[in-house]
């Protein structure tokens, strides 16, 4: 807490005396947006790592089906891996929990909650979020939901095992893990709902004087659109979760059609429901969710590219309109996930068209970022390397999605490894690299120390190479017809035998990728206490407001009232004495 803030308020009788708080109220039950952001950071990195480990286990089974997992295989017990050989049930559980944890507890909280919480008030010149206590409640309910999800591993039958999409009717008749999945998702949804309304109110109502919408950094725009998507797309999944809970606990049949066959017998259910209802409700969330994953990373990468090319973003106005348009359109593309459910051709044509249209704003944004590089004096520091790698990888992920958006090509590709390859190209080499870029870039603001450059390179290059070795062969396998969700990696089918050797390549690359994360983990904790100290509050010489705060920012963020005078990317302005002109300085 700054001394100015203290002296301005010490005469009030109701002074909260934030500077005298105990350790618990300052770092654990904190309402400060920066502390909450860092709490989210630790938890979401933990969940990312955990979800990643689940996948590493699965990759053993895919590469060497039926072989006992060496060394650690025996530790899992007879229920999941007798003698170190993975049971099919356990494989399904790992798959479902990998998807759920990575998406809902890893990537989305990291992109949205971590960077949003830490940076939104800083970048708009506010002292905190509009609803600080609500913010704390969001974090704790996220934590509760996540812990509940993890606790389902200790159920007698294990956690949910129906994929991250939890399709009915399978999920209606699955074992108890699914009930925990639904409760836990409901809690996580409440958490993200409260976060998103908090973020939107903050962005609209707490902007500093002079911070018009044209002067908002693109990162804030990305967070704003993301928050609207979460606010409006998540409630239908909550509704769907209620319906599925009723099916499971009260014996209703929302998703169970009459005459459902299970294991060769007609199931004892009331019937009359519709299994497709779940798919529509799920994907109504599911598709905007993809943009919830992508947009924060796009915002982070935009900030880093503008700063490290020392240029204004090319077509910044066009990028703003693109992201608004993309947000609207993401609500009317969901059924391109359900082409194979027997929709009519007219409906299919509609969703094909909207899916093709939604690629336009994404292409505009990525193109604008590429064009920004032209003629810039690029600084190849570690955050910039990650940001630069994001562009082609995300573009590649997007382009491989086009064949899936058209029904004619989707029919053979559906549920093959091609889908896995496409989706992971968007999320892993795309979004996750962007999120790493953000961690390296804002680390000095949060800690006052830089992360080590050499270890950063040691993290970046192997990660980039192994990610491509993991996901590109999946596209090949998928085009050859290898189905996803195969317990034995596809060995059952003769036509797969020519491409099974890729399974070993992919798995080995995944394990090397895991090793490549060790430099990051070490760097992260080591640099926090022993990294090179930054000698200014603005080590990257950036023009946006978060660097106008002390390092690390105290309670209340800014030491003086902020007024904004210019665009966020005011770099290399003609006639300016230096190559960046901070937003809050009157003279350029």
């Amino acid at each position: 807490m700054s001394s100015e803030h203290h002296s301005a308020h010490h005469d009030h009788s109701h002074d909260d005396t934030h500077h005298q708080q105990s350790f618990w109220s300052q770092y654990v039950f904190s309402t400060d947006h920066k502390i909450i952001g860092i709490q989210y950071l630790f938890m979401s990195l933990f969940f990312l790592f955990f979800g990643f480990c689940l996948m590493l286990l699965m990759r053993w089974q895919i590469a060497y089906p039926g072989h006992p997992l060496p060394i650690i295989g025996k530790m899992f017990g007879a229920d999941s891996m007798p003698n170190g050989v993975m049971l099919p049930e356990f494989y399904n559980q790992l798959g479902a929990m990998h998807g759920t944890i990575m998406v809902f507890l890893g990537v989305v909280p990291l992109g949205f909650a971590v960077f949003g919480n830490y940076l939104i008030p800083l970048q708009i010149g506010a002292k905190d979020m509009a609803f600080p206590r609500l913010n704390m409640f969001s974090y704790w309910s996220f934590l509760a939901g996540g812990m509940l999800m993890l606790s389902s591993f200790f159920l007698p039958n294990g956690p949910a095992s129906n994929g991250w999409t939890s399709y009915s009717p399978l999920s209606d008749i699955a074992h108890d893990g699914q009930t925990i999945w639904l409760f836990s998702m409901a809690i996580i949804i409440i958490s993200s709902l409260l976060s998103s309304l908090n973020f939107i109110t903050t962005i609209f109502n707490l902007r500093a004087p002079g911070m018009t919408f044209e002067r908002l950094p693109f990162f804030i725009w990305a967070q704003l659109i993301t928050a609207f998507l979460l606010l409006l797309a998540f409630p239908p999944l909550e509704g769907a979760a209620f319906l599925q809970l009723c099916d499971r606990l009260l014996g209703t049949s929302f998703f169970l059609p009459t005459g459902l066959f299970v294991n060769g017998h007609i199931a004892n259910i009331s019937g009359g429901g519709n299994a497709l209802l779940w798919q529509h409700l799920f994907w109504f969330l599911g598709h905007p969710e993809v943009y919830v994953i992508i947009l924060p990373a796009l915002g982070i990468v935009t900030e880093i590219i503008a700063c490290n090319t020392r240029k204004s973003i090319a077509g910044f106005g066009m990028m703003r309109w693109s992201i608004i348009f993309l947000g609207f359109l993401s609500f009317v593309v969901w059924s391109h996930h359900t082409y194979l459910t027997g929709m009519g051709t007219n409906i299919t044509a509609f969703f094909q068209t909207t899916t093709m249209i939604i690629s336009i704003p994404s292409v505009i944004i990525v193109s604008a970022l590429f064009i920004t590089l032209w003629g810039g004096s690029i600084r190849f520091n570690v955050p910039m390397l990650f940001a630069l790698a994001f562009l082609p990888m995300f573009g590649f992920g997007g382009l491989t999605g086009l064949p899936l958006g058209l029904a004619a090509t989707d029919i053979p590709l559906h549920d093959t490894y091609y889908v896995i390859g496409h989706f992971h190209y968007v999320v892993a080499p795309g979004v996750v690299l962007g999120l790493f870029a953000g961690i390296y870039y804002w680390f000095p603001k949060a800690t006052g120390r830089k992360m080590n450059e050499f270890l950063g390179h040691l993290h970046f290059w192997p990660t980039l190479i192994t990610m491509n070795l993991v996901f590109f062969p999946m596209l090949i396998q998928g085009l050859m017809g290898l189905n996803r969700r195969m317990y034995d990696g596809g060995a059952t089918y003769a036509f797969n035998h020519d491409i099974l050797y890729w399974n070993v390549v992919i798995s080995s690359a995944a394990w090397v990728m895991a090793l490549a994360q060790l430099p990051f983990i070490f760097n992260f904790f080591y640099s926090m206490f022993n990294g090179e100290k930054v000698n200014s509050d603005n080590p990257w010489q950036s023009a946006t407001l978060e660097w106008a705060t002390p390092t690390p920012p105290g309670h209340g963020n800014f030491t003086h009232p902020i007024t904004v005078y210019r665009d966020p990317y005011s770099y290399s302005l003609p006639g300016a004495p230096k190559d960046y002109s901070p937003q809050d300085q009157k003279e350029i």
Binding site: D128, A130, F131, N205, L231, L232, F234, L250, G273
Partner: protein, 203 residues
């Protein structure tokens, strides 16, 4: 909480360019998400009904009279809320309390009548698992009843124990804002019932 008041702006006064104070902005966003929540259930209702071979004539197995009375009860409760808010703005606390008690009383009447309906269904052996219509009926009205209970809790707090909030600096206008926000929620819950009544009883 004077420190918080200065620390975070627009808690009491609306911001000029948005025209809203923070809580009002927040509650509108919350209600937008509620529209999507109930909207998804209404869509589910439509899809289930369109895709179903048999569907009961709803007005025959529903107690339309109680449903209609309940609509009037909730609408009156909303009107009482407005009267209470007007009284609060005029600084007439006794009148404000009287109307808030009426709001809460009518909410309880609504819940009681809803309970009577549920009892009638159960005594006819009509349970959620009996048919898809009854399932979605119990789910939607049950979720709505939970919203009513939430509203009762908030309104009871502001009708009595929460009044001390007026003694804080800026507390009077702040309290009027709080009640206004609670009122927006209450009117929304009322509005949802109008849709529920027409969809689940009359159509």
């Amino acid at each position: 909480m004077s420190e918080t008041e200065e620390f975070i702006p627009y808690i009491v006064k609306p911001r000029e360019d948005t025209g809203l104070y923070n809580a009002k902005f927040g509650i509108w966003l919350f209600l937008a998400s509620e529209v999507m929540l109930f909207g998804s259930l209404f869509s589910a209702y439509i899809l289930l009904r369109v895709g179903s071979f048999t569907w009961p004539v709803q007005s025959e197995i529903q107690n339309v009279a109680i449903g209609a009375i309940n609509s009037v009860v909730l609408l009156s409760s909303s009107i009482f809320f407005i009267r209470a808010w007007v009284a609060l703005k005029a600084d007439d606390i006794a009148k404000y309390k009287r109307f808030m008690y009426l709001v809460i009383l009518f909410a309880f009447i609504f819940l009681f009548l809803k309970g009577v309906e549920y009892y009638q269904h159960f005594s006819h052996h009509e349970y959620p698992k009996t048919s898809v219509f009854l399932a979605i009926y119990f789910l939607m009205t049950g979720l709505h009843a939970l919203h009513i209970i939430g509203g009762i809790l908030v309104n009871s707090y502001y009708a009595g124990p929460g009044l001390y909030l007026r003694d804080k600096p800026n507390g009077k206008q702040w309290f009027i804002n709080r009640v206004e926000v609670a009122g927006l929620y209450w009117h929304f819950v009322d509005l949802v019932w109008i849709f529920l009544f027409s969809t689940l009883y009359l159509l």
